[in-house]
Symmetry: C2
Subunit: 146 residues, 2 copies
């Protein structure tokens, strides 16, 4: 079953990290981790099946006819990446860097530690070829005293 889920994730899923502005956060930024699975809404029962297995996250149906099942809670993302690790092939590097980021984030105390995590999120971006990220490590560093 985990091998199946890993194959599904490699085929049409996504692991990604975002640095999100948060006025109410001590450091003004949140590191948001996500594991997401996509499918046509017509076939969204497979997303329900996945949610039943992974026991976290939520399903959204978009107006475009695409649904997604996304897990964002760091603790759950870490758990899911850990159990899928032996089976994932295509996204192995994302998965490993993702686990590193999450573990570092848990231990991060100082602003310097936090910036170190942001730097790794920037590195993650290169693995995913993302073009849309606007909040990078350098944006955070301008706002945080070291």
């Amino acid at each position: 079953m985990l091998a199946y889920i890993a194959g599904f994730l490699d085929g049409d899923g996504s692991i990604f990290f975002q640095i999100v502005r948060r006025k109410d956060y001590r450091r003004k930024f949140q590191i948001r981790s996500s594991v997401a699975f996509y499918q046509k809404t017509d076939s969204c029962r497979i997303l329900k099946w996945l949610k039943g297995r992974l026991k976290a996250g939520y399903i959204r149906h978009r107006k475009t006819g695409i649904s997604d099942y996304t897990i964002v809670e760091s603790k759950e993302v870490e758990r899911i990446l850990s159990i899928l690790h032996p089976y994932v092939k295509l996204k192995k590097r994302q998965l490993e860097l993702g686990l590193k980021i999450l573990r570092k984030l848990k231990k991060s105390q100082s602003n310097k530690d936090f910036l170190g995590v942001c730097r790794q999120v920037d590195k993650f971006k290169l693995l995913n070829y993302s073009k849309k990220r606007t909040v990078t490590c350098s944006v955070v560093s301008k706002s945080l005293p070291l």
Copy 2:
């Protein structure tokens, strides 16, 4: 490994059947079966890995930046659908109808048998929500004496 491949197929792969005009064929039409896996060309090594495991088919790189790994030879498609059968979830109905079509096709002797297969290909279309098919069973039946 088969569970992984089944997950990959469910996530971003495709099983489909086409009725193709063939002037050189006795019945003027061919039933073409396909199992296809898609991926960005940047990540096409996973397609090479799949080809190494399934030992059939070919990989194409399209100008759009998408590559596909496709198996069309009926015997190979039947073999691959059979070994993936216990693991596939989302495309279970396609897979089972696909196997039925391929087995019926092997035994089909008369034009009437062949039209029966074409009818099942039409049924298959409904499972895949395909809108592009133009050669349907009724097109074949107009050209074949019963």
